[in-house]
């Protein structure tokens, strides 16, 4: 099977993630969409790695996972503290600062 299809899949996932970020209110979900985008990237890396027949892509994928994990740590910390002080995880409620 042609690995290019995986690329299309990756693009699809990435787009879904991006759209999710735009349309979902809950910070957690938004954040998960970002994670989805990152994983789409991973898929792309692995696929390219397969196509090029070198390992760089796969190694990068590991790095990405670590980074994603780190992001989760930071992200959740922030989101949780926001949630505790506002009792809401909606990103639209967090709009004190504007104009």
């Amino acid at each position: 099977m042609n690995p290019v299809n995986y690329l299309y899949l990756a693009a699809l996932l990435f787009t879904i993630g991006a759209v999710g970020v735009l349309i979902r209110r809950n910070a957690i979900v938004v954040f998960m969409c970002v994670e989805l985008m990152l994983n789409a990237c991973n898929l792309a890396f692995v696929t390219f790695s397969r196509m090029h027949g070198n390992l760089d892509g796969q190694i990068i994928a590991f790095f990405t996972m670590v980074v994603a994990a780190a992001e989760v740590v930071v992200g959740l910390a922030i989101i949780v503290s926001v949630f505790r002080s506002r009792h809401s995880a909606s990103v639209d409620d967090a709009s004190l600062m504007k104009l």
């Binding site: 196509m51 390992l55 760089d56 980074v67 910390a77 506002r86 004190l96």
Partner: protein, 549 residues
Amino acid sequence: MNALTVHSMWTTAAEPLNKIPAPKIEYVQLAPVLIVVGAAVLGILAEAFVPRRGRYVTQVFLTLLALAASFAAVVALAAGGYGTTKAHIAAMGAIAVDGPALFLQGTIILASVVAVLTFAERRLDPADHGHKVDSFAAEAAAVPGGDHEKAAVKAGFTTTEVFPLALFAIAGMLVFPAANDLLTLFIALEVFSLPLYLLCAVARRKRLMSQEAALKYFLLGAFSSAFLLFGIALLYGYAGSVSYATIAGVVDGSVGSVDPALAQTMGNDALLLIGFALVLMGLLFKVGAVPFHMWTPDVYQGAPTPVTGFMAAATKVAAFGALLRLLYVVLPGLTWDWRPVMWGVAIVTMLGGAIVAITQTDIKRLLAYSSIAHAGFLLAGVIAATPSGISSVLFYLGAYSFVTIGAFAVVTLVRDAGGEATHLSKWAGLGRRSPLVAAVFAVFLLAFAGIPLTSGFSGKFAVFKAAAEGGAGALVVVGVIASAIAAFFYIRVIVLMFFSEPKADGPTVAVPSVLTTLTITAGVVVTLVLGLAPQYFLDLAGQASVFVR
């Protein structure tokens, strides 16, 4: 590709370990980064083991020491000729040690030193329950206004973690402009972004805003880094490698097809262009260029002011460094593709920043928009695509970062009951009440406005000159118009401070400790020196304007 080759891949991977060459790392040349990272780790340990009372002193001491050592290392490397003759790629092609890298690292470190001084300032707010307080929350985890927080304040807790966090961020920033492959670029980006997200969240006053800023910054940052990453993926797909050198080679066709598999994608410019666009977007986000700027005002406003100053200065330096390297090292063969695009970005950034700033009413947001406009001016220099363009941008960054930190440091001084009084109306008549502070701030504003005899003018002139020489005369004209518009709101603040009568319930100007005083003094001195006699630093930037390939 057939199953056999795949199998052979696995087998090559499965060779006996002794066959694998150990990576060669030039630790000495990476010293600046390593020192900072090490200090950061120590800082974490300190948090764990040093008793609460001692932490503040320990952290401040440790941080400043580390930064000093790291700066010494940079100077040593530069003196050792690594900036010019011995410039080369270190750490298995991951990190470049060359003029721009060292210059920018030096700038970042100095800026950080000054910024850290403001982090450590504990004189501005009145002592709370007999404990000196700084700009950071007693306990970031506590709910604002909750009993837990009250207890923390009573106990005199302070978030000394900000220092290690800052160190991590600095480490990332040091790597960012030196990164010589896309992976390092990405990692560095995250390394300095994540601590910044946290730093934004830990303001002592106005905590809701602070947390909101952190949330916005984090979500958008993650969003943009996802784009960056996808771009990297595409570039990797195009070139089959993430190393700048290889990609550059592939772009200008000097590298033939390494293997047949690569050949099929290599022809495909769509991957290259889209990937480039996405990576560019990731960097422009950090730079704060229109239309990727929208996080800037909110985050600048919400974050603790010392952090804002730090971000505004250091992040910009690092991001522009990376941008320069990307455009000049990776994609020189693509100049004719990216220049028009960047033209557009530069123009909208200059004008957008300047125009929207006019109607701002909060000093921090005002400075945020001014930083956007300045990003536009810098882009004009970047576009020049000439050595003088590089040097001018380097110089501008150096000049700009000190003005910025100085300005934000002054903002921390003007306070009323609710903490910093950042609404412009509160600044009315400041010049009457405390002429000195107002005068200093006026100097910074004039520098922002690019009035001659300040560093702002030298920088602007250098950049515009480079742009004009690089054939971007039109950009210069737009830049000039933007500066004219920008001048208006800087002047507005000066008018407010000097020519309008002070309000009865106006804010007071806190008398800072030596730390902030040092920061501001440094800002003023640099502003004037670079304005009156910039030649030496221009030479420095000029020597440092060659990227290693």
